[in-house]
Every structure is written in C-alpha cells, then in structure tokens.
C-alpha cells in the first residue's frame, strides 16, 4: 500500500452478495407467458384504462386493483434513448459492461407505460425519440426479459 503524505491508509474489498428474488405472482405469469408463448402481456386498469408494463397489482393513480391481462405488441416506439459510452462495472457480474451500447425507454404498442431495453444501434445519429422498434427474441426462451428479448431493432425509417 502506497500513499501520499496527506493520505491515510486505504483498504480494498469486494461487496459480493448472492440473493434470491421472488418475482411474485404477476411477474411469474408474465414470464411464463413470455417463455412458453413468446408473448408480452400487460395489465389494464378498469378505472383509467392505462395499460401497465411491468404488470402490478394496483394502479398507482386510481388505486384500483388490476385484474385484466392484455397482450401487447412486440413493436413499439422509442420514448427516450442514448448510446452509453461510459464504462462501468455491472453489479450483476462484477465485470465491466461492454460499451458502447444502445439503451432506450420503449413503449410497446398497446401499453401506456414503458420499459428499459437495449437497442441494436450504437450510432446516436440513427437513434431518435419516436422511432419504431421491434423486439428480437432469443431462443430458447428462459423466462427473462433481458435474455428472451435480446434487444430491439429499429424498423422502417
């Protein structure tokens, strides 16, 4: 360990924690549909008619219990987008996530809310808000949003 005069001793360590996360009843249904049928499902609020993705038990705006499942398109629009150049350590692996990569907030057709996903484009000039995108699936599907949908690709002009 080396240090400058005004510096004090430092100790390096790694926070490494394994855990299990119970996805819950609604996410279980969502991921089962995704895995078995390759279908993306949302939930509609009977009060405000918003269609939520991810699914959730209650509409946070109307406080109504959500019960109705609706299939969503595998196409949608970019609501916000970027190309990430900043290298950082991915907490899921402890390794640096490869950069650059396209990253967007995507609203699928039929949904009122959006999800984060990767976009298969690293030229920021070709990415814009409002652009249409389509999910590219990865086989065999395992029931994971970020595995089963590899990324979204740009469609049309």
């Amino acid at each position: 360990m080396t240090k400058k005069d005004d510096e004090t001793q430092r100790v390096q360590y790694l926070l490494d924690i394994e855990y299990h996360y119970a996805a819950g009843e609604l996410a279980t249904r969502f991921f089962t549909e995704l895995k078995e049928a390759g279908r993306i499902m949302g939930m509609r609020c009977s009060g405000c008619h918003r269609v939520y993705l991810p699914p959730r038990p209650v509409c946070g705006i109307c406080y109504k219990e959500l019960k109705d499942w609706v299939p969503l398109s595998d196409e949608g629009i970019i609501v916000g987008c970027t190309v990430v150049h900043l290298p950082f350590i991915d907490p899921m692996t402890g390794e640096q996530r490869p950069v650059p990569y396209g990253f967007a907030i995507i609203r699928l057709d039929g949904a009122s809310t959006s999800i984060y996903h990767f976009v298969d484009e690293t030229d920021e000039k070709k990415l814009r808000v409002g652009q249409r995108v389509k999910a590219v699936f990865r086989e065999p599907r395992t029931g994971s949003l970020h595995h089963d949908i590899k990324y979204f690709r740009l469609v049309g002009k």
Binding site: T8, G60, F103, I105, S114
Partner: protein
C-alpha cells in the same frame, strides 16, 4: 398547529473528489463541528439528530453506525434515513417535523457521503428492479441521458443551452469555498467538446462524484431568535413520489409529475403565486445540465418548453432575476447523501445573509429542492420573515 421552525446554522466540509485524509466518521465530525461553532452551541444543546446517507455507496451497511460518536449520536434520540438522492432533504424535512411537532427544540440534520470509496454507477444500478431494470440500467448517467433525449425532443432545447448551465454552475462554484469543481475559465465550447458519456450527456454536463458532509441546525422560534441574529424561517415543506418503475412516467424529467406536484403544494403553503417573481434565489438538485433546464419548467419558473430561453436570457445567472444555484449546485459538488441537504444549507445561507462571495443581495425568500430515484421530489421554502 405546527410550531415555527428556523435554520440557525450550517456547516460543510471542503468537498473534494477524494478525501483520503479522513474516514467517514472524521468527515462527518468536520461538518458538524462547523455547524455548532456557527451557532455558538455545544453538542449538549442538541436535542436530537437525524442523519442521512445513501448506502451502499461506501460499500458497507450502516456507515453512520461506525461513526455514531462522530456525529453526536451517543445516547441521543436519533434516526438514520436513506431515501436515495433526496436523503438530504428528507433529513431536513424530518428535522423540521421534529421541531414543528413540539417534541424537540433543537435538532441537528446531517448528510454525508464518501463516493470515492465505491463505484457510483455500479452501486446506483442496484437501485433498478432486479428483474425488470437492473440488467439494462446504465447508472445515473445512462438514466439521465435517456431522459434528456425525451426533453430535447419535446422542448427543442439545445446542447449549447444545456452547456450554459454547466458553465454557470462551475463559475458560480468559484465563489463557494466548499465547492468541489471550481472552473473559472470554463466555456460552452469546453462542455460541448468534453468526453461523451451517454449521448447527449457529456462529461461536463454531469455532476461529479464528491466526498463531503453537511450539517444544519433547526430550532423552534424562541431558541432560533436567541441563537441566530437572522434565522432562515421555514415557510413550507412538501414531498411527492413518482410511480415505481423507471418507464412509468411518460416524461420523467421533461415533465416530472412529482416535481410539479411538490412545488405547487409548497408554493400554496407559502402563499407564492408567481415563483419567478416571488422567489429571490433557488438551490435546486439539478444533477445534469439538461435536468436544470427541465426543472425550470417543472418548478414554474417559465412555461413548458421555455427552459432553454431562460438560460439564454440570463434569468438564472447570479445577476439575473432569479439566480439558480449560486453555490455551483450539484454540477459542482455531489456527495450524494449530503447533496440535497447542501441545497437547504445554501438556501438558508442566502436568507441569513451569510453566503459570502456567492451572496445574492436582498434575499427574503429562497427555494431548495431534492431529487432522487425514482423521481422523488422534496421542496423546502425558506424566508427571512417569520
């Protein structure tokens, strides 16, 4: 009826990228000692302590427990908060509630962070939901970048206008002896040419990572009058949350529902109908240059889509009609657990007339905001008038 509450003193550390001369405990003691000296009180005069920090940025749980005797917690009523980016304003609002309720007369609020000890982008990515967001999320920088793209699309704000915010912050910081990034010669060109982090956010558009602590003392009316020649009276506090997932709000930054709701609630309590005219200064939690412009709109300083024009017109400069972040803001100093409390401290200093070289003349009313995941907003309004 709540009791009247004022801020009577503040204390900050010299914020830097790396405070390798001190550990967490010593860092906190530095800020707390300054706040006590400023009010000329002793630790025994403090009735209760609220302390905030955003673990796991230091990598171990409860960093404040390792430091209890360094912040005056020994045998005192105290509580720790972690509400993310807002934690500093959460502690300030909690201290206000404690005093306003009549339970305690003098309460110390503390915020601290040693960001140099961990990997901020990595730790902040763990904020993302484990199955819906975490594997995709790209730290705070990626989040701000996608939100900024929506704001640019909606408002037509330009990268140059955002760069002006980044320049204002680092130049203002030169008047603040505690600020981390002081850049007297920074230009719009420098910002535009700085390294791309995540389009459209460049290095100089983004807040730094700092080590630092802040302490603020709150007191009830009679103690405040006795201890401070010109206390900063709290006129309003408000807090509001967004929905849970990152993609739930259609325009999370461009039209932040929580910020609109919390600010309008606070303005109503304080009797403010035209914030641009009635506020004399604002210390807002702006995080990134683009965010400050969007926040002008969310906070009602201008109409929707006019944020860029506001910076062009110089309205929010030191000499403008409503100076925003004379301290240099989050873009200059960002020890996350302290950042929002620094907004409150800086707003209080302006009201108390103790802001030194960054003092705006004749401040009577000041706004402070906090911002955190997921678009949680806190607002506090301070006034020279009881």
């Amino acid at each position: 009826m709540p009791r009247r509450v004022a801020i009577i003193s503040t204390g900050q550390t010299k914020h830097r990228a790396k405070r390798r001369d001190v550990n967490v405990r010593e860092l906190i003691t530095e800020a707390v000692t300054r706040a006590l000296e400023e009010a000329d009180i002793r630790m025994k005069d403090i009735d209760a302590v609220v302390i905030g920090n955003m673990e796991p940025f230091e990598g171990f749980l409860f960093p404040e427990l390792w430091a209890v005797e360094g912040w005056g917690g020994y045998l005192k009523p105290s509580v720790k908060f972690n509400t993310g980016g807002t934690v500093g304003t959460t502690t300030a609002i909690a201290a206000y509630y404690y005093v306003a309720s009549g339970i305690y007369d003098v309460v110390l609020a503390i915020g601290f962070e040693k960001q140099s000890e961990g990997h901020t982008q990595t730790a902040i990515t763990t904020v993302g939901d484990p199955i819906w967001e975490r594997a995709i999320m790209a730290g705070a920088v990626g989040n701000f970048a996608v939100m900024a793209s929506t704001y640019i699309h909606d408002s037509g704000v330009t990268e140059e206008q955002a760069a002006k915010v980044a320049v204002k912050a680092r130049r203002n910081a030169c008047n603040n002896e505690y600020a981390h990034l002081q850049m007297p010669d920074i230009t719009v060109e420098d910002v535009l040419k700085s390294r791309m982090l995540a389009y459209p956010v460049k290095l100089l558009d983004m807040c730094p990572q700092s080590d630092g602590a802040c302490a603020v003392v709150f007191a009830e009316e009679s103690r405040a009058k006795q201890l401070a020649p010109r206390p900063a009276w709290i006129k309003a506090v408000a807090t509001a949350h967004e929905q849970q997932y990152m993609g739930d709000s259609p325009k999370r930054l461009a039209a932040m529902r929580s910020q609109v709701a919390a600010s309008r609630r606070a303005y109503a309590y304080a009797g403010i109908t035209n914030p641009r005219k009635e506020l004399d200064v604002a210390e807002i939690y702006e995080v990134a240059s683009f965010a400050e412009l969007a926040m002008y709109e969310n906070l009602g300083f201008c109409e929707r889509g006019e944020g860029g024009k506001l910076i062009d017109a110089g309205v929010t400069e030191m000499t403008g009609e409503l100076p925003v972040n004379p301290s240099g803001g989050v873009l200059s100093t960002n020890p996350i657990g302290a950042t929002a409390l620094i907004r409150v401290a800086e707003a209080a200093l302006q009201v108390m007339g103790k802001a030194g070289k960054r003092q705006i003349d004749g401040v009577r009313t000041a706004l402070a905001t906090g911002y955190g995941g997921n678009a949680w907003t806190d607002v506090m309004i301070l006034s020279r008038d009881l």
